[in-house]
Symmetry: C2
Subunit: 122 residues, 2 copies
């Protein structure tokens, strides 16, 4: 299990200093399947997951929704037939926060979990 | 109720002739809140809906998922805190099909419906 999945999100404040490049590189190394993309000058963590049909993709979207509500940190989730693209970033810091790396690691875990087991994250 | 919501999707074939501009304009007039966008040369019908929180947005995503499975025609759904962007298009015709206008009208209906009432679409 990725060590990040054991952490909880911490409330962040507007104007909080953004992560250093060293810290980003350190946490990113824990998430080899994620990429950092720039959307309008705001860095996001992004990953696409593949599924066999629409129902499985939507079920995963709901598992991510459960995580998001549990941590009160919410991503963008693009659901299509056979795939889900997830993007994590932090509005308040206009980019990446340590919370986003924690949530990305938990998202990787959630894809392998049964919906009924998701309460472990509550 | 929009007349389009009373229609069912019909199976379409690869290579089927795309809709004429007249037919698109006629059906688009039934969907004033939707816009036609071009994504990589493929026309899509797109609309963003606003909600008060993430849970309501995700609940709507699931209602759209119910519609999509009922008609076996699937959109792209972008779910975020307080908003859902829905895009309908038809892969087989590389653009818009009459089915997409039918699904957009049903999506407009679904936003007002209780989840338990969605079986009306089955």
């Amino acid at each position: 299990m990725n060590k990040l999945t054991e952490l909880k999100c911490k409330a962040c404040q507007s104007g909080e200093a953004p992560m250093s490049q060293t810290e980003i590189a350190d946490l990113k190394s824990e998430l080899p399947d994620w990429k950092i993309v720039d959307i309008g000058g705001v860095a996001r963590l992004e990953r696409e997951y593949k599924f066999d049909d629409f129902a499985q993709a939507l079920a995963f979207t709901n598992k991510i929704g459960y995580l998001a509500e549990a941590e009160q940190h919410h991503p963008a989730i693009l659901t299509e037939w056979g795939r889900v693209k997830v993007s994590w970033w932090t509005h308040k810091v206009k980019g990446l926060h340590r919370n986003d790396f924690i949530m990305a690691a938990k998202t990787d875990d959630a894809v392998k979990m049964e919906p009924a087991d998701m309460h472990a994250y509550r």
